[in-house]
């Protein structure tokens, strides 16, 4: 079960956040702060790797949740918080990347790296979440 989704741009700015459960209760400031801290943590994790070319944390498993991270080759991070051992989260994140490519990047009114305010992206995401949860 998906709990929330974050999208962070390549400079660490949070450009999208959505909760899918009433369990997740973070205010806007918290999500902004956590998004950019995750960006840094992710960078640290790849530097810690003794082998060059490490792509950073892909899955973080905690006692009460899993965090799945998908980073695109262009440096955007799509990450989701889900219940432990949830299935299909990585696939979901790749689908969100696809929706982002269609309904955000092909929208002339979207400015690159800025917060995503695109009605169609919201709508498509909602149906993707429903698909993933069922």
């Amino acid at each position: 079960m998906l709990l929330s989704l974050f999208v962070v741009n390549k400079s660490g700015g949070l450009i999208y956040h959505r909760n899918f459960s009433s369990l997740a209760k973070l205010d806007t400031n918290d999500t902004l702060r956590l998004g950019s801290m995750w960006h840094s943590l992710h960078a640290i994790s790849s530097q810690l790797s003794p082998v060059p070319g490490c792509k950073g944390i892909e899955l973080l498993e905690a006692e009460t949740f899993d965090l799945h991270n998908f980073q695109t080759p262009t440096g955007i991070k799509f990450f989701a918080v889900a219940e432990c051992k949830s299935h299909g989260v990585d696939r979901f994140l790749k689908r969100v990347y696809n929706l982002y490519a269609d309904y955000v990047l092909k929208n002339p009114f979207y400015e690159l790296d800025m917060p995503i305010r695109c009605e169609l992206f919201d709508l498509q995401l909602t149906s993707e979440v429903t698909l993933t949860m069922n």
Binding site: D102, Y103, L105, K106, N107, P108, F109, R117, C118, L120
Partner: protein, 195 residues
């Protein structure tokens, strides 16, 4: 033929008669190009109506040329002279060629005799576009309206053509309706030709 020794065949010899031999392009290529045209147009105008006008002007060019291609290819040079004929040509042939499908509906306006509407639930040019709230009634389908206006004008049916978003029941997003208002002389001519 080019004077500079181009090896391209002259335009009339090229494959205007056989579009289907052409490799087709990805929908993304068009979507990004169109998005860029909208962004560029925004820098040349000061309000939403001017933006729609600018997009329609670009579409107009496309319409004029599309008509030439289609008349040669599909109608063997035969020209349409009746209103219903040209409208169904738009709704079916032009739409299919440009957008890969016929339009969803063609209707006569309810309030005026010189008005017709072509509607599409998923107009290709609008597929990925979310209009921000501060741009109000903007519909980038103005580009498609321009195409329609270009086809009609060069076919000898001058008309005023505009694009509108119309909410439709059971659908999460509005359909795009292209409203066509024919010039008085077009209506007169059609009446003279009788039924």
């Amino acid at each position: 033929m080019s004077q500079r020794g181009s090896v391209l065949p002259s335009l009339v010899d090229r494959h205007i008669l056989t579009s289907k031999t052409r490799n087709d392009v990805g929908v993304g290529a068009f979507a990004f190009l169109f998005s860029e045209i909208v962004q560029y147009s925004q820098t040349r105008v000061s309000n939403v109506s001017e933006l729609e006008r600018k997009l329609a002007d670009v579409g107009f060019d496309v319409g004029v040329r599309m008509l030439e291609l289609l008349v040669h290819r599909e109608k063997a040079g035969k020209r349409e002279n009746r209103i219903l004929g040209i409208l169904s040509f738009l709704h079916t042939n032009v739409w299919k060629n440009l957008f890969g499908k016929t339009a969803d509906s063609l209707e006569k306006g309810t309030s005026a005799d010189d008005e017709y509407m072509i509607s599409d639930h998923d107009l290709l040019v609008n597929r990925y576009i979310s209009v921000p709230r501060d741009m109000g009634h903007l519909n980038c389908g103005a580009f498609a309206a321009g195409i329609v206006e270009g086809v009609l004008k060069s076919a000898g049916f001058p008309a005023r053509v505009t694009a509108h978003s119309v909410a439709s029941e059971g659908l999460s997003r509005p359909k795009t309706t292209i409203l066509i208002k024919f010039a008085p002389e077009v209506i007169e001519r059609d009446e003279k030709l009788g039924s």
